[in-house]
């Protein structure tokens, strides 16, 4: 991996993990996630279709990687 990029990322994660220390509390409550839980608010609603489209691009372009995302949704449990 490219060292400078990893270093920057680790600092970013460090800051985020320290969120407890800074006293900031979650600003979107679990009961306010109605819109975020809507199926249209997914980065990829249908995995089968996105996988295929990513494959179409990856097979014809030199670029690859960083196509998917995790997280979001209803935040239940």
């Amino acid at each position: 991996m490219n060292p400078p990029n990893m270093f920057k990322l680790m600092i970013l994660f460090g800051i985020l993990l320290c969120s407890a220390c800074t006293g900031i509390s979650p600003w979107v409550k679990p009961y306010e996630r109605q819109n975020l839980a809507d199926p249209i608010m997914s980065f990829d609603r249908d995995a089968i279709a996105s996988r295929y489209m990513n494959h179409v691009y990856e097979a014809r372009e030199a670029a690859r990687g960083a196509e998917g995302s995790v997280g979001g949704g209803c935040g239940c449990n």
Partner: protein, 388 residues
């Protein structure tokens, strides 16, 4: 002092690498704290452009077992008919069918999801196996999700014209992602992925051309030769915004660079709009551009002019634009028995490729003066999804 800090960072990076090796991920996006819903999808896919037609089915089935475990399987086939410009120009043999099967398992424990998957891709002259691991963790009141992933791929490259030909290739991917809920209506995500390829990285059938006054058409062919390693980094940023009248807008940017000198940027905007009762439409625009590899040339000056040589249009300097349209309908509950929800979806994407330094050798011009190549492609995705 600086050196000590740097060494600490390298040590931490190694620790993360070791941690990654013991973690699990799937290639499909994970939703932490709740497992993905049980569903089955059946897709018909079709790519038609540049003289090539590739179609086939894809079937995906996912089921939750034991409350904290979700397993899935995917069966995918590419069937190739007709011939692309590479085949037309050099009449090389072309494999006709590729089958890919994957299985994966996701395990949920409180706010963490661990995943593991295995994929096998097989055609008569190429065999690839990939294992992926990953972990996704929700924190900060479920507003943030961190994902870490690692995958290892081992390929066996063959040659239909030469039974004794057999080469190995290894691929490793490391990815880190952070998804952050910014407001009640806005979610953003950053993904960083490094790919390391080693081994036989070129195509045994493909050639480069060089100026050759002794040849009738002014050029001759020789085998391409690539470096045996390729390291690449990609960083993508995306944001998804909920519009008050119930619609969603996604913006995405990805920057890519690799050790072969290729730099690429892609931009995408996607608008999702539900309407009437159960209908949904989607519009997409994507722009992509890349610079060529250091050892790429459409026409080399003479035979073996450089240490490495490539004439693969995938490594050339080019741009592409995609316009996509999708329509989806959700059936009333009870349309299919035993099933909670079902949708029928049709997506059409039109892609235009314009090459800046790859020429169309099928035209009757002087070597090096042929028109630059470009082509359009239509991509169709027609699929039925059921949730049970």
């Amino acid at each position: 002092m600086q050196k000590a800090v740097w060494e600490a960072v390298v040590a931490a990076t190694k620790l993360i690498r070791a941690l990654l090796l013991s973690m699990i991920v799937g290639s499909t996006p994970l939703i932490a704290a709740v497992l993905p819903a049980d569903r089955a999808d059946i897709l018909y896919h079709s790519f038609d452009g540049g003289g090539a037609e590739v179609t086939g089915p894809s079937v995906l089935v996912r089921k939750e077992v034991a409350d904290t475990v979700s397993i899935y399987g995917n069966y995918y086939v590419d069937m190739v008919s007709s011939a692309s410009i590479d085949v037309q120009a050099t009449a090389s043999p072309y494999s006709e069918e590729r089958t890919e099967t994957s299985v994966g398992i996701d395990y949920l424990n409180d706010k963490s999801v661990f995943s593991l998957s295995y994929t096998n891709s097989s055609e008569d002259d190429y065999e690839a196996q990939t294992v992926s691991f990953g972990i996704s963790q929700d924190f900060f009141g479920d507003l943030s999700t961190i994902g870490l992933g690692f995958s290892q791929g081992n390929d066996l490259v063959g040659n239909n014209t030469d039974d004794s030909f057999s080469q190995d290739t290894e691929h490793r991917r490391y990815n880190v992602s952070l998804t952050q809920i910014l407001t009640k209506n806005l979610i953003a995500s950053a993904v960083f992925e490094s790919v390391i390829d080693q081994g036989y990285l070129n195509n045994p059938y493909r050639s480069v051309r060089y100026q050759d006054s002794s040849a009738g058409r002014g050029y001759s062919y020789e085998a391409e030769l690539y470096p045996s390693t390729r390291n690449s980094d990609a960083l993508s940023l995306r944001a998804l915004y909920y519009l008050p009248y119930r619609a969603a807008l996604k913006l995405e940017y990805r920057h890519f660079s690799d050790s072969w000198g290729i730099v690429a940027d892609s931009y995408e905007a996607r608008y999702t709009h539900p309407f009437a009762n159960g209908w949904l439409m989607e519009f997409k625009y994507r722009a992509y551009e890349q610079s060529s590899a250091d050892f790429y040339s459409d026409l080399f000056d003479f035979s073996e002019a450089t240490n490495f040589r490539a004439r693969d249009k995938e490594l050339s300097s080019f741009g592409s634009q995609t316009v996509g349209l999708g329509i989806s309908y959700e059936f009333k509950p009870g349309f299919i028995p035993q099933v909670d929800k079902s949708t029928l979806n049709l997506y059409w994407d039109h892609i235009q490729f314009n090459y800046d330094d790859f020429r169309d050798v099928t035209s009757d011009q002087l070597a090096g003066e042929e028109p630059l190549y470009s082509f359009d492609a239509n991509v169709i995705r027609l699929y039925l999804s059921v949730w049970y």
